[in-house]
């Protein structure tokens, strides 16, 4: 049988319509793979059958699709309310797609908002921590300065290079007490006004050194706010006695002896 006869015998139509036994079908498939003309005719007939099927289509009852989809996926949810239509598939997808995109939008928005709020909150935290750090660092600096001066003072008081001169309270203020630390080799003088009464306003204490029987002003001073503070006074190379008087603000040239609070001799 030649190819033309084979094609016109109608066996291809039988094949397509499902009227052949599986053995006959295999023979047709063999012929198809051997002869491009037969294959060509088969595809052409398929097109016609497809068009005929599309033209004689009948809309299946609602529920059939769901029942099929449920068979392949038990989790499938029914969509019975969707009306029948040629574009049913597309319309089926619009609502879920819309919901999904809205949901997506909400999530993105929420994340963005959270990030924004988080960032704002974090910025606030950073700012307050920066302030705290600044406060702590200035406190630290302050403490360092005080520690430095305290160490320095301790060195002066205990180092051995300074001569300690104790000035005791005189009759007008027997409770008063002060010390001078004097380095005889460098002439440096430090004063510790340990216990002097707060002066009345317009008055200032003045330190004196008695050199060869004559008073030399070592400068005026205010009482320090902290305990154990040392006040650097004027330098002096020689002195037998140190004394403190209460004088008008800014000091005077010669001491007022009636207002002498403390005095002490240098130990030789």
């Amino acid at each position: 049988m030649n190819i033309k006869e084979y094609i016109s015998s109608g066996i291809l139509e039988q094949y397509l319509l499902g009227n052949l036994t599986s053995q006959e079908e295999k023979q047709v498939e063999q012929m198809m793979s051997k002869h491009p003309e037969i294959r060509q005719e088969m595809f052409s007939l398929s097109d016609t059958l497809e068009k005929m099927a599309m033209q004689s289509a009948i809309e299946p009852p609602q529920g059939l699709k769901d029942s099929i989809l449920k068979e392949i996926d038990p989790k499938h949810i029914e969509h019975r309310s969707v009306p029948k239509s040629g574009k049913k598939g597309q319309r089926d997808l619009i609502l879920p797609a819309l919901i999904a995109s809205l949901l997506g939008l909400c999530i993105v928005g929420f994340i963005a908002y959270s990030c924004f709020r988080g960032k704002t909150r974090m910025n606030e935290q950073i700012e307050s921590q920066n302030t705290q750090i600044q406060t702590l660092s200035s406190e630290n600096q302050d403490l360092n300065t005080r520690l430095e001066s305290a160490t320095q003072n301790l060195n002066i008081m205990t180092g051995g290079e300074y001569n300690q001169v104790i000035m005791r309270g005189l009759p007008i203020s027997p409770q008063s007490f002060a010390q001078v630390f004097w380095n005889e080799s460098t002439s440096d003088v430090y004063l510790s006004p340990s216990n002097l009464p707060t002066p009345e306003s317009g008055k200032q204490y003045q330190l004196w050194a008695i050199v060869d029987g004559a008073p030399v002003s070592m400068g005026v001073f205010d009482l320090p706010e902290t305990d154990f503070a040392l006040i650097k006074m004027n330098s002096i190379a020689n002195a037998a006695t140190f004394a403190i008087t209460l004088e008008p603000q800014g000091g005077v040239e010669s001491p007022t002896l009636e207002a002498m609070y403390v005095a002490g001799n240098v130990n030789s």
Binding site: S8, M32, E50, S56, I68, G89
Partner: protein, 178 residues
């Protein structure tokens, strides 16, 4: 009307959405076949459900070199319907066959197939002469085998085969024109 080849690759990956879209595109065409063969909504639904499950489960056995994907689906759907019809007939008896024979001419089937859908069939078959129309109705729409039709009409099998072929060629020509 070509089936996108991406249907096949997606189905092979077990993409459920692909089956859903396949149904949207071809469900009515296949259901139309099954319904005309079986003449019952209930049976046609069962046949199409089984057909789609076969398409889903046996997609790996589809061979592109052996034919178009639509043909493969179409034959699965038709075979499901024809098998169902045979098992039903075996249970009921053959007496309805004679009645079914003239459905196209007698309008007896109009109560079960809606007018709108029948217009499509009539338009198609109206292009053919009386003999070819009857044979095509039986073979194409009712799912009879060529041998059945030869026996029923008392004509040689070869005649049925050529008549079916000529009818399809004629329909093809008119469908191409559209």
């Amino acid at each position: 009307m070509m089936i996108d080849t991406h249907f096949v690759s997606r189905l092979k990956k077990k993409d459920k959405l692909a089956l859903s879209q396949l149904y949207d595109q071809y469900g009515a065409a296949l259901y139309g076949q099954a319904y005309r063969i079986l003449g019952s909504e209930q049976s046609a639904q069962e046949a199409i459900q089984d057909a789609f499950l076969k398409i889903w489960n046996n997609i790996d056995s589809y061979d592109e070199s052996k034919g178009k994907f639509f043909t493969w689906m179409y034959r699965i759907a038709r075979n499901e319907a024809i098998d169902k019809k045979r098992s039903k007939e075996n249970r009921i008896t053959e007496k309805t066959v004679q009645l079914d024979f003239n459905v196209y001419d007698t309008e007896a089937d109009q109560s079960t197939v809606s007018n709108v859908e029948d217009i499509g069939v009539k338009d198609l078959l109206g292009l053919l002469d009386h003999d070819s129309r009857n044979i095509m109705d039986l073979v194409y729409f009712k799912g009879y085998t060529h041998t059945d039709v030869a026996k029923l009409n008392d004509i040689p099998l070869g005649t049925v085969k050529t008549k079916v072929r000529r009818a399809i060629l004629k329909l093809r020509a008119s469908l191409i024109k559209e």
